[in-house]
């Protein structure tokens, strides 16, 4: 990319004269050049804030008796060269070191930290303070698809842990997610019980305490790919089968591309009528405001719930290596669903339940009853499928909107370095997070906070 590489970012060094900021153009120990919107006095006190990567915060230096040595009137501003006065807050040597550090660190970052390797002096210095991402491990890929998943969700538990999970689950509804054509077909051919049991067997979770109770709800559809929603006949049969078995149903639909609008209207109308015929209701995960617009016009038996694509938050398995990440860990747990006014807006539209995911950072659950998906979480999704692009154009970035999909995702996936626990499934990078399965206290806390439903996705 064509980034400017020879300039210190203005976010790294900021200056103030009085209460007004100035634009620092050049800064050295004894002299600096700056731009100002108004004219300034020839002598002044300068407040400088320099970013310190070690603390992930700003260090303040104050110089008094600074004096202008040169002035240039520009068309819209004033440019000054000034001599730095005495430093009255901070020390001259700290100031020198701060300037040196941001210059060296930002130069390294601008050139690509991964190129410097672990032997760089700057990285060696920083590693005393920060968690440096192990770029060397990016060459190690997992052996196979299932093996990688099983490794991430290693769920050996003690008898005590089993009992604790079982007790916690007494207050929690358990749901199974069917999200691709193979699962839809197998469910119709063999029944939901077989599909759920086989799914648990493949994931080596049959004996886990979370699954000490039966599934009482089925999620049908796909929140991330418009091509993985079942066809109308299959959808209808799945609904009927679920109704017959007394299972609760949540339907999942993704973003809605415009050419699907009429089809989705018809699908929702069909589902609504089926619910009327069976005197029941279903939920629908809303991942597109346009779908909400359709429901409010047309459907009385469909209860909207907020889907995962609209529950926006940072979800990245590499968070431990983010500089400053730990400092802001609590804040990452929140998003706009924790604001009262937005929650009220959603409630006023009939959306009371929000779908969350178990991922590397904890979620701050807002008041109410909500769902938690596990062990996979969505990290990135593309409306134009990169896997389709790779399989047809042999270049994952040569993408287009796919409406007739051969479902390459049943056969292929993108492997990523094993240590970051993600995989590319179709158009989505999914993270794999096993902490809910290995530490009952996490589940316990979520249930206390308002999670009353767990949604399990199998491979």
């Amino acid at each position: 990319m064509r980034f400017i590489r020879n300039k210190i970012s203005p976010a790294l060094i900021l200056g103030f004269i009085g209460s007004g900021d100035i634009i620092i153009l050049e800064m050295q120990e004894n002299e600096f050049v700056f731009e100002s919107v108004e004219q300034i006095e020839t002598e002044f006190e300068l407040n400088v804030f320099i970013f310190d990567y070690r603390e992930h915060g700003y260090v303040n230096f104050v110089f008094n008796n600074c004096s202008v040595t040169e002035y240039r009137a520009k068309k819209f501003s004033h440019e000054y060269k000034a001599k730095a006065g005495n430093i009255i807050s901070g020390t001259a040597s700290d100031f020198r070191m701060s300037l040196k550090h941001i210059t060296e660190v930002s130069r390294m970052l601008l050139n690509g930290i991964e190129r410097d390797g672990e032997k760089s002096e700057v990285i060696e210095w920083l590693s005393g303070y920060l968690n440096i991402y192990p770029f060397g491990k990016d060459t190690e890929f997992p052996e196979d698809y299932t093996g990688q998943i099983l490794k991430c969700i290693n769920s050996n538990q003690t008898i005590n842990a089993y009992r604790r999970y079982r007790d916690i689950m007494s207050k929690v509804e358990l749901a199974f997610s069917l999200s691709n054509n193979d699962q839809y077909r197998q469910s119709l051919e063999c029944g939901f019980d077989i599909v759920t049991r086989e799914g648990l067997k493949r994931m080596e979770l049959v004996e886990h305490g979370i699954f000490s109770k039966p599934f009482s709800r089925i999620y049908i559809g796909n929140e991330f790919c418009h091509n993985l929603f079942p066809t109308r006949p299959v959808f209808g049969r799945l609904l009927e089968k679920a109704f017959d078995q007394g299972l609760n149903v949540t339907v999942m639909y993704s973003y809605m591309v415009d050419n699907s609008v009429n089809e989705i209207k018809e699908m929702l109308s069909y589902a609504d009528n089926l619910c009327k015929a069976n005197d029941t209701t279903i939920e629908l995960c809303i991942n597109d405001w346009g779908v909400m617009e359709i429901i409010k016009e047309n459907c009385t038996r469909i209860t909207p719930v907020l889907g995962r694509l609209l529950n926006k938050r940072k979800k990245d398995s590499r968070i431990d290596y983010m500089w400053g990440g730990q400092k802001y860990k609590d804040k990452f747990a929140e998003n706009n669903l924790n604001t009262e006014f937005f929650k009220k807006f959603l409630n006023d539209m009939g959306i009371y339940r929000f779908e969350f995911e178990s991922h590397k950072m904890l979620n701050k659950i807002p008041e109410g009853r909500h769902s938690l998906h596990f062990p996979f979480y969505q990290q990135n999704t593309s409306v134009y499928c990169p896997l389709f692009a790779e399989c047809t154009n042999f270049n994952r970035i040569k993408q287009e909107l796919v409406m007739k999909c051969p479902q390459y995702c049943t056969e292929f996936y993108f492997k990523y370095p094993g240590h970051i626990h993600i995989m590319g499934r179709g158009n989505t990078i999914m993270g794999i997070e096993g902490s809910l399965l290995s530490d009952f206290r996490i589940l316990e806390q979520y249930v206390k906070d308002g999670v009353d439903r767990l949604v399990f996705t199998a491979i």
Binding site: A11, D288, E400
Partner: protein, 343 residues
Amino acid sequence: MMKVVTPLSDISSYEPLVEAGADEFFCGFIPFEWLKVYSSVLPLNRRENHAISWNICTLSSMKILRKMVEYYKVPVKITFNAHYYIESQYPVLIDIVKKLLESGFNNFIIADIAFIMYLRDKGFDCNIHLSGEAEVYNRMSIRFLDRFNIARYVFPRKTPIENMKSCISNSGVLNKEYEAFILNALCQFSGGFCNALHCDELQPICSMPQKISKTNGSQGKFAAVENTIRIKEIVDSGIRAKTEGKTTDSDKNKIPFGLEGCGVCKIKELMDIGVTHLKIVGRGYSLDSLINDVKNVREIINTAAIYDDYGKFENAVKENYFKNKCPEYCYYMKSAGSLYKNR
């Protein structure tokens, strides 16, 4: 006439880009009152790096910029397009918005519906452009979101032209502006659905090493695809071995026009369906490359009026700007198969 929306990372770039033909700018403004509390870890907009010069960080810069805008009459809109904000950020956000309004800036690009709602509830009568990060792909969403008095909809990157046309014609909302991406930074994923970290110390997730592989349940349904992938891997690793270490720093600034994402041959079609603004991506890019981008896009827009035929216009653009060898990454490739699925 269609307008060219140009990125601005530094106020010193304003005048040269106006001269090059920019009709409007967008920039990020992240003042110290935000940086000292949230740094770039909790970002104010979607340029989340700290070490790259993507954002303007002083109110002085904005005031100087305002003087330039008054002189040259080329407006600037400010990005508040983070996917979400948390409750504790609202007082700082509102303070920043107030300062910008007082300084004469009242056009904002926003992605978080909650923030738009908050601004309207508090009586801020600013112009809101709904960011592409809001991922509005259909006419029903436009209808739903119009309650917030949106002045302009920015189509997300991955929107086919036919779908844009349908949104513009069939949403039922009137007197709106529509903006479409035209150049640079064609990402592997959809921005509004990308929850990965974008920070200096980690590679972008879309640049991470990745390999296509078979799932355990694979039944060999796509043998031909598998074979081609295998051959391509062998060829690619050979090319990598030959070219490793051979690119230099100076090569980074010589990237040809359109190489990182291009849709310029579709400008006439976009114009005719009602797209009013074309967005060039590139905050943090070198001024020379942006000047080149703006000039070329401006020229191509001016040329579009001469042609009646889309095919002839496309051919002319491809010949004149790319010597008939299109850049690899196209914003507006044709959809695979019919747009209407058989059910």
